[in-house]
Amino acid sequence: MTRYLLRRLALLLPTLLGALTLVFFLIHMIPGDPVEVMLGETASGADKEELRRSLGLDQPVYVQYRAFVAGLVTGDLGRSLYEQGSVTALIAARLPSTVELALAALLVAALLSFPLALLAAARRGTWRDRGALLFSLLGLSIPNFWLGPLLIILFSIQLGWLPVSGSGGAAHLILPSITLGLGMAAILTRILRASLLRVRNEDYVQAARAKGVSEQQVWLKHMLRNALLPVITIMSLQFGSLLAGAVITETIFSWPGIGRLTVQAIQTRDYPLVQGCVLAIAVTYIFVNFLADILYRLADPRIIYEE
């Protein structure tokens, strides 16, 4: 395990370095003069020079890159052009809301997919199975930027049950978490169904049945437990994707997370903040995937023995 961990870490470092290099060059990809794009054509020459100096854009690229990496090491991502405070502080204030939303979406996905997949696998080939597969296909096809407004129309405007947007309590979390979690529920339903069908003829399942264990117990205790392994991996890997999907969901529901902060920064052309947000989401994504990989190895020791 230690050897695997070291090898995985050795792969993680260049990926992280590559990711931050890409984010560094984002600001240099702006066509024309980045300072003019940020401040607008009407800004005075003095203002432009001041911003150019404060962003270090008057320095050679390698000096800028060195300063960028040195800043990252000390947790300094620069200052936002329009918001009060450092980019790091702004991100730190918003990240917990995004993680809260992503966790709630994960819960929604599990609550929807587990019963559906069990039902589909237990009644394979029936209308229930086909219904679950159709749900999965529709869940994969419905874009979250349409699902969000649909849910608002139905549950907030027509029925008046839930708030339209904002944060502050469980009621505010329901619609955004369904919007963000439905796609993942669709993926999990497919994977868990296939996984359950794969384990149903295993020897230990036959043995449990031969011992006289009730069918319900066979499904819940013997089959589901073993079928969950690939599902847990996908759930952890998809958790990272939820962070990115939050950009749209947070915009629809005015959820005060890092996704909405990114969109606001893009709209105001606050590129230092855009850089910081993209980097924060990417680094979180890379670490979550790394942890998911390690947890998977820990959960299934057979994989290590096979290496």
Partner: protein
């Protein structure tokens, strides 16, 4: 329904959208950008069966033109990403060594980002516009094809018919083009189908965030974004473009699933 029937259902929906997109200038009942402020936010009228938007523009006409944008972005993104992915993946898999290492590390770095985030970042710095959307989606899109093609080539190049081609003196380019690429087609076609669905959703997401095509060009994502301000008074503004995106992606998923079942049954 059997998988064959699903395939036909998916293909029929796609054909409908493709024909509508191609014949848009002939079949639209109104000009898609023509404003009629006296008839704004109409939900239904015989003249406007799907209603009008805040500027009185006909929703049906904009939806039909929107199909052009969505399908054009999707097809161009898949074609360009696939071409780049095929070349890079084939080079990487066939050459091996430091070329493979270098290219695959680049793929790792790009894949370390959630795809849509990188597309948002690219279009944010490049500015909105159709070309930039396609460019941003291609910059992230080629990696999946490259990795898949490399994997397939690694397994294919040890096969006897490739060894035989080499032994007969085939050049690397000929070996790749005449012997390897035809064998790569089934997985590539499947991935391209799902890639098309992903590109259409991604274009919608970017346009929804105001980073896609510029107004007044009609795009399904942009129409949804405009309609968001009128959820209370005119929910039809978001319903129809959303339904159009969902139907197209649903059809592509149906076709992709059926192809996978048919071409790669062991992969199920």
């Amino acid at each position: 329904m059997r998988s064959k029937s699903w395939f036909y259902v998916g293909t029929a929906i796609l054909l409908l959208f493709a024909v509508a997109a191609l014949l848009a200038p002939i079949i639209v009942p109104h000009e898609a950008t023509r404003q009629d402020l006296a008839n704004d936010l109409v939900a239904y009228s015989p003249e406007h069966p799907l209603g009008t938007d805040k500027l009185g523009r006909d929703i049906l006409s904009r939806l039909i033109y929107g199909a052009r944008i969505s399908l054009m972005v999707g097809v161009s993104t898949v074609a360009l990403s696939l071409a780049a992915g095929l070349v890079i993946g084939a080079l990487s898999g066939y050459c091996g060594g430091w070329i493979d290492q270098l290219l695959m590390r680049l793929v790792d770095i790009l894949m370390a980002f959630p795809g849509i985030l990188l597309a948002i970042a690219f279009t944010a710095v490049l500015g909105p516009g159709l070309d930039h959307v396609v460019l941003a989606l291609c910059l992230i899109g080629w990696t999946g094809y490259a990795r898949m093609v490399r994997g397939e080539i690694l397994s294919l190049r040890e096969r006897e018919f490739i060894q035989a081609a080499r032994a007969l003196g085939c050049s690397p380019a000929r070996t790749i083009l005449r012997h390897l690429v035809p064998n790569l087609l089934p997985p590539v076609v499947i991935q391209a189908t799902f890639g098309l669905a992903a590109a259409i959703i991604a274009e919608g997401s970017l346009s929804f965030l105001g980073l896609g095509v510029e107004p007044p060009t009609p795009s399904w994502g942009a129409m949804l974004n405009e309609g968001r301000q009128f959820l209370l008074v005119a929910p039809h503004l978001t319903t129809y473009p959303g339904l159009a995106i969902m139907l197209t992606v649903f059809a592509l998923n149906l076709v992709g699933d059926s192809l996978q079942e048919k071409l790669e049954p062991h992969g199920q």
